[in-house]
């Protein structure tokens, strides 16, 4: 089980950030997430595997300074 934006979701071995986003709605503007407190950006979505019990927040559209 993982927690995504404070909602529980099923977890499976090897799931990546990209797969997770594909399972969710309205994520086309997500360019960064916080995975267990660490920032992960788009270029690493395919390769970053989510561990079990992870806590994930989807960051809002990056808006610049």
């Amino acid at each position: 089980m993982i927690t995504v934006d404070e909602k529980k979701m099923e977890w499976h071995q090897g799931i990546t950030i990209r797969e997770l986003l594909n399972r969710l709605e309205h994520t086309q503007f997500c360019a960064a997430v916080r995975l267990n407190g660490k920032l992960i950006s788009t270029p690493a979505f395919e390769t970053t595997k989510i561990p079990d019990n992870a806590v994930i927040y989807l960051l809002p559209l990056i808006a610049g300074g």
Binding site: T27, L39, S41, T42, L58, P60, L61, I62, A63, G65
Partner: protein, 712 residues
């Protein structure tokens, strides 16, 4: 601390205009040449059209300067205004000041949106805007004392040039018992030797018992301030409450304040955590997307970038509330205590550093090829203390370093200094030279545009290559984002009224990462809506960060999440509740449009403001050099073959660089056409007669200006 004297030379007692629905409807004018102090009513039609803040600044400046006025002419004005909503405690970002003047770097109006308490305190003291003109022989301190209803001018002697110490001394001097009543505007000692001077605006941090700073950084406003011989402008005001603006509908204002602040308190910890890390979260994100400027914007990422990002600064920042306006829930104005510089006059002493923000980290760190968080703190500290803009300093020194590495300048020109990328000590030495008024630092302090001319004329450097790598447009140094892969952001910088600062439009991710605006028309629409909406914050005395750096949880379900429409609705409610002027979200853009177009016309009045000035150095558009091309060879080859349908078989890299350049530059010109059309401008980038009439800014002198430029 050194002894100083303030000799009162002028005092004016006044009846404090009451605040009504966010406005005092009065202006304060100080002429430093004649020492005249004037308080004038502001006409309703000015309020109706220019709203406040930057709108008021531009209108007052327009009436003070002629098209021939230079930055160092006495008639050049420094205007500082908050806005009708400015000074609302608890509303996130609800207390900004907007500063304008004719910039020494650009020759056109520069505007800067800054925190600290000065703008609200000046308004509560009775004035929607302060305008300073003239030039004094002696150093002057201006006091706006809203508690005692007095405006005073003092001749100052013995006051330090060091901005931190100066602000502390004057805060103590004018209200030792209640330092929170004081806000000081000052610059530092390098402002008079350079054209990159900033203004420091203070607020008193009651918990830390110290004066804190925010900067009106861009465009050399501090240089104008120093040239006028103003040592400081001080505002003194007492208690502030949600009723201070005397809002039209208090309950509605309280309600929308609660909604916005409540949302930020709940969501910031889950989103960008700005209350903990400020804007340093952007460093790793920009780096991951190849958008963090490295080595003078040559590259967009570096393996050591994470050393200067949020993960490090979170542990360096002093913990505690860091709102640069009272009760701002974002509270992102962090600082570092007990930092010990390793160079300069503060070497070995413990100091407090206000910052760094993303721009300073990228400008004075990665862009100089330095990934040391403590070096960045030292650059930040000395820039503030000396009154220098960290963005122009970072981008300017990055240019110098690339020129040095290319052999365009040598140790012979730099006074023996090795200015290769990564040379921390010599970068700092340039700042110290600027304050001492000596050495190569004096040339660097003139900004990139003038450096290019000096390097070419006096050092024989190749002007063409410097044109390509010198990251300035309209004379202003770029802020710290890479734009090579975002045509929309190239427009966001190249067509920004004051020069390449991202506060008009920040479209990199929408464009480059999300491909949300594939056509020229889409981009033009974005380059209309975003600059107009962002302008609105400057009219009202607000900070833009709470608009789109923390967003509602359901925002991503909106088809246009970048606009954060729920917040736009709140801003309309906020405006209506304070001013009593009922507006809907759709009304906000036309409000800004009038001021935005007026600023464009102001540029025209000053001899600029046409298509030829909306240009970019090629470094902002594509790879200048062969090694730059090779560093992203797949990307550029793909661009040539897929987007421009070029057969690259057998092409040398130099040829590829040239062909890509031809296409990308043509594409930028096409974008200009689309944007000008969308904004209601001629193909030469001038607002049409129809546009100025529609916006109600068809004043007789505007019509004359259009006629003189062949528009009607």
């Amino acid at each position: 601390m050194a002894e100083f004297t303030l000799k009162e030379i002028k005092s004016l007692e006044y009846v404090r205009p009451e605040i009504e629905k966010g406005y005092t409807d009065h202006s304060l004018h100080v002429d430093l040449s004649s020492k005249d102090i004037k308080i004038n009513p502001i006409e309703p039609k000015v309020k109706e059209k220019f709203i406040g803040g930057k709108g008021y600044d531009l209108w007052f400046m327009w009436n003070s300067v002629s098209g021939k006025t230079k930055w160092n002419d006495p008639e050049n004005a420094i205007c500082i205004a908050s806005g009708p909503l400015g000074g609302t405690p608890g509303y996130p970002g609800g207390g900004k000041s907007i500063v304008t003047t004719i910039s020494p770097l650009t020759g056109i109006p520069i505007d800067s949106n800054v925190g600290g308490y000065f703008g609200p305190y000046t308004k509560f003291s009775g004035f929607d805007i302060l305008e300073i003109t003239g030039k004094s022989d002696a150093q002057i301190v201006v006091l706006i004392d809203g508690i005692d209803s007095k405006i005073k001018l003092y001749e100052a002697e013995g006051l330090t040039d060091d901005s931190y110490t100066l602000s502390t001394q004057l805060t103590d001097y004018f209200d030792k018992e209640k330092p929170v009543n004081i806000s000081v505007v000052s610059t530092g000692s390098a402002a008079k030797h350079t054209e990159l001077g900033c203004l420091n605006f203070t607020w008193f941090d009651a918990k830390r018992k110290r004066v804190r700073y925010k900067q009106a950084g861009r465009g050399g406003i501090g240089t104008v301030f120093a040239h006028k011989n103003v040592k400081a402008v001080v505002a003194r005001w007492g208690s502030v409450s949600m009723k201070s603006n005397n809002p039209a509908d208090f309950d509605a204002m309280k309600n929308v304040t609660k909604l916005h602040a409540g949302e930020i308190n709940e969501l910031d910890p889950k989103q960008n955590r700005m209350a903990l890390v400020g804007t340093t979260h952007l460093v790793p994100i920009m780096n991951d997307h190849d958008c963090l400027p490295v080595n003078n914007f040559k590259y967009g990422m570096h393996p050591e970038a994470h050393n200067i990002g949020e993960a490090v600064y979170e542990h360096i920042f002093d913990k505690g509330f860091d709102g640069c306006w009272r009760g701002c829930a974002v509270a992102c104005a962090h600082g570092v205590k007990d930092f010990v510089p390793f160079t300069g006059p503060y070497k070995g002493q413990k100091v407090f550093v206000d910052g760094p923000e993303y721009e300073t980290v990228a400008g004075c760190g990665s862009n100089l090829g330095v990934f040391d968080p403590f070096f960045i703190l030292e650059m930040n500290f000395y820039c503030d203390t000396y009154g220098l803009d960290t963005i122009s300093i970072g981008t300017g020194i990055a240019f110098v370093m690339e020129c040095f590495e290319m052999g365009l300048i040598t140790k012979e020109h730099t006074g023996g200094m090795d200015l290769s990328f990564g040379n921390r000590l010599n970068a700092l030495e340039l700042l110290h030279q600027m304050v001492r008024g000596e050495g190569f630092g004096m040339i660097v302090g003139k900004g990139i545009r003038k450096m290019k001319a000096i390097f070419a004329k006096d050092f024989g450097a190749d002007a063409a290559i410097m044109q390509d790598i010198g990251m300035e447009s309209k004379g202003l140094e770029f802020s710290e984002y890479m734009t090579k892969e975002s045509l929309a952001q190239q427009g966001g910088y190249g067509m920004a009224l004051k020069g390449p600062q991202h506060d008009e439009a920040w479209l990199i991710f929408l464009d480059m990462v999300h491909n949300f605006m594939p056509t020229f028309e889409n981009k033009a629409e974005a380059l209309h809506w975003f600059p107009m909406f962002r302008t609105w914050f400057g009219l009202c005395g607000l900070c833009k960060l709470p608009w789109n750096d923390i967003v509602p949880e359901d925002n991503r379900q909106n088809p246009e999440p970048a606009k954060v429409v729920k917040h736009v609705g709140w801003y309309a409610d906020f405006f209506s509740s304070v001013t009593g002027r009922k507006v809907s979200p759709d009304d906000l853009i036309p409000m800004s449009e009038a001021v935005y177009n007026f600023q464009r016309l102001f540029n025209l009045k000053m001899g600029y403001g046409t298509r030829e000035f909306d240009t970019l150095p090629y470094r902002a558009v594509g790879p200048v050099t062969v090694d730059e091309y090779l560093s992203r060879v797949e990307r550029y080859d793909k661009d040539l073959t897929e987007n421009y349908k070029v057969d690259i078989t057998g092409m040398e890299i130099t040829e590829k660089v040239a062909v890509l350049r031809k296409h990308r530059e043509a594409r930028y010109e096409q974008l200009k056409d689309a944007v000008y059309k969308r904004r209601g401008w001629t193909p030469n980038g001038i607002p049409t007669l129809e546009t100025v009439k529609r916006l109600g800014i068809d004043f007789p002198d505007v019509i004359e200006l259009l006629k003189a430029n062949g528009v009607c």
